[in-house]
Amino acid sequence: MEFWEGVATILMEPDILSIRLLGDLQVVRGGQAMPLPASKRTRAVLGYLVATGARQSRERLCDLLWDGPDDPRASLRWSLTKLRPLLNDASAERLVADRDSVAIAAERMSVDVAMVRTLLASGAQGASLDQLEQAARLLGGEFLDGLDLPRCYRYHEWCMAERESLGALRRAALSALVGRLQDTPEQALAYARAWIGAEPLSESGHAAVVRLLGTLGRLREAHEHCSNANRFLERELSVPLTGELVRAAAAVRPAARAPAATAQSVQIPESDMGVAQRLPIVGRETERAWIDHAVESSFGIQAKEVLLILGEPGIGKTRLLDYLAESAAHGRCRVLRARAFEAEMVRPYGAWIDALRAVPAGDVPNAVQRELALLLPGLGEVAPGESDRGRLFDGMAALLRALAAAQPLVLVFDDVQWLDEASLSLLHFVARASDSPVPLLIACAARTGEIDDNPVLARVRQSLKREKRLAELTLAPLDAAQTAALVRLAYPKLDAAQVFEESRGNPLFALELARARQRGDALGRPLQALIAGELARLEEKPRELALWVAAYGREIFPEVLADATGMAPSELATALLVLERRGLLCATETGACDFEHDLLRQAAYRSLSQPRRRLLHRGLARALDAAAKTDPALLADLAHHAGLAGDAATAARGFAGAADRCLKLFANAEALELVMRGLAHLERVPSGAERARLRVELLRARIYALGSRSVSQERGLAAELSNAIADAEAAGLHAEASSAFFALSYLHYHSGEAGRARAATLQSADASQAADQGTRARQLASTARCLLDVDADVARSRALIAEAEALAHSQRVSLTELEWARGLLLRWDGDLEGARVSIERALAIARANGERWREYECLVWLALVDLELQRLERFDTRCIEIEKVARRMGDPDAPVAAVLRDLARMALGARGAEDAFSVSVERLRSIDNKAYLAYALNWGAAIHLDAGRLDRAEACALEAFQAAKAVERITEVVVACALLARIAVRRGDGEATRARMQRLAGEVSDPQRLSARARAHLAPVSAVGMNFSTLAPTV
């Protein structure tokens, strides 16, 4: 053991710095571990600089860890200020930084990775037994364990490659050790087990375990291991085994078959159970007083504040949020709760979606359902282009106001240091929009040290502080008495003094220590080791399940777990029950399961070797691939796990789909990040159609995610996209090429190259000729409907409707616009009943799609048609509906419905109807709606004319004529002229009659090109002698 003695001696020297990169990053000076900066990125900078051992440019470090819109150089500077006191001392200035670059000088410093490489310099086979043992011991931990930063994909790729390389060294050392220690099988077995832990798919490793168990006479274990390993390898490898494992088993004498584990055989001794039940809260009097006051006063003056609970992991932040949630629920408040997860920082609005799951659809006001459907698909579909981020935020604020108005509302978000940009922006918006006097409290918790790793959170926090909207409660460690009280609650007979010493007042650590003590384990181990010990004590199935949940990284639904693990429902239920009773997992309100604390999850995950992690991620990606087909929210998870499993094509596909979803949710920053990660994976996808398709998709998403401001600054992007388009066309991917041409035109347009933009748009149109028939049908029908609405170019409308009908029929789609246009055309032709049927169909589609404005317009047209059909009862119902929809749309009244209703009453000779009509007409004048004004006044004129009130009829018709002329509604112009002519005839005023007849003739160039309504009004005039076929006045 000379090596270790030498190492130990050196490390005890006070000015020697020892840096451990294998396992938890550790900096040891004079035998003492130094406290490290809480920021993960700062620790990652340290790990990277030490591991590479080379001078790195500041630009590279920024690219590696802070690639984003914020100020990366400032973040790096901040990190270096935290590292300087850690590395530099009187004996050496190790952190050397200048304007352009940074390095760590290896002066008076030892690094474990360098030691391993020295020990195995001549390969595992060339190393002595002692060297192999030392190397295996050093290689026991994963490289930079716990410093995974999948969002920083360049750093992540580097870290994974280092882990691969060091993992290969470890496997080689362990395999060599097993070979050399054949004479001491006990010792060899320990190394063989470590070998299959590091390389679970190694048939040779499993065979070695079986052989050694046989040598040791543990025959049943040997056979059990053989059959488990066989099943596992066949499932994971999907290729025939070499037979080594079977040969090893054959060499072992047969043993009695081990009884299969059944659900009933899983028993948990009562003494071995964890603290599954929730303990009462201990200490935290000040914080509880704040919460009590807030809840008792239904938030009172604190309503404008956001509560942020800060503290280190395990200090009790979640417990305090629980206290708040419980108090609020007792105080008859509604509590909506969710948490963020480190693994899902790219799930836009993820926490909001989770929190809102508890709100029944019936509680969401109709007025905002359309806006919120983006987040809650259960509320209906959102047509592209119908929404934007502003509407989404407004909708959310309106929903929260409505919920809070009905019942005081508490929004709880845990672990906000991991919230995505979109969720944080929404949180900020809602906090600032909560000035109205509704009882709404937003409570969050965050890890103090990791806030600065999330620049958006840091900004939101600053802003809320500046606006005096933030109340912060920082949780200190418990004191000795409080720790003792807590420990006694769970383990009444335990001596808590030592637990306090070791846990330093961290409640989670204290309880884990107490649990270890209770079962007789020695104290003095770090939290990670305590939890790993707890897992090791579990039976195989629950332990496996805990590892799957840990690898998933956040709460997981049992269906996904069942798919991924292949466990039968009964096995799964039993294993979950065991984990729940042990206090490791808990069921969430949504029916998913999750670790009781993120530290437990981290500890479980870190107990896995890198190859084992890959296997788990591969299984999870497989399960998610199927689930994401129906739930696109899972695409980011799919990409995450496929990436960690090393499946580049699935990862790139997942990232492309997830980026597209982010763009739809206006989460551009997240979309850009996903695109960059997708492109990094794409590099490893082999050439072919799949790669060409993904490349186009990712680049297109990148252009839209960059937006008009930044896209012009991306040099080379246009050339890159052009190449991708060429590849896509070569692969026959025309629809993809078309959409990419459109993106290219967008790019050129914003780069000020209008000519090239136009060219690209035309190419896009050519390529899309057959791409999206449904959209084209909608556009054609919409144009036709607009033309009919303004009473212009009916021949063109007819042709457009015919084309749209053919397209819609071939695509089997129902379109509001098409039915609506068809209805207007039928009305124009005089088929009022047919018009009613068509517009009613349009109304039904608009309602089903939540197209509020179209619903309103269709109802108005239906009221018009019913009035013209003289179906007054149905007409009344329509008017009531119009008013209802108008109110839902935020309009206090519906002037068109009012004027139509007054017309109907006037036609029936109701009392006061004329005055009411004057008022409603005045309302139309004030809102300057000339088309409906002309229509209503013409109706009014006709009613007055029939009743012999010629002056009133004339006044109405004259104004109707002017209004219709102004907005060029030919039907109403003709109707007004015809009424004026008839009024003159009734008066017996020959001169006026002639003049009006001439004017009418001037308006009617071809009676066949007039609507049925206009023609109907011409008929009585013809009867008095006007020949419209020759256009010659005969009177």
Binding site: G390, F429, S782, C786, D928, K930, Y932, A966
Partner: protein
């Protein structure tokens, strides 16, 4: 042709991108409803906007806004005082 004013308010500052997509959506409707965009004034905080149009009546402008799914608060006809 009467001058029509559209007032808009945005809770979060409107982006160039949203404005561009708004103009694109409005294009075909402006033509059909014979509405002519004159100019727009965007507040420096990008949270308020006034747009001027020439149109036969306010309702034509309102319809164009609805067709294009453009958010607006008020639409009113106006007289132009001073030099236009």
């Amino acid at each position: 042709m009467p001058r029509i004013i559209v007032e808009r308010n945005f809770d979060i500052p409107v982006t160039d991108e949203s404005l561009k997509s708004l103009m694109e959506r409005m294009g075909p409707c402006l033509e059909i409803y014979k509405v002519k965009w004159v100019r727009s004034h965007l507040a420096t905080d990008r949270k308020r906007m006034m747009c001027e149009y020439d149109a036969a009546d306010a309702e034509s402008v309102r319809t164009v806004q609805k067709e294009a799914q453009a958010k607006f608060d008020r639409v009113w006809p106006a007289e132009v005082l001073g030099t236009a």
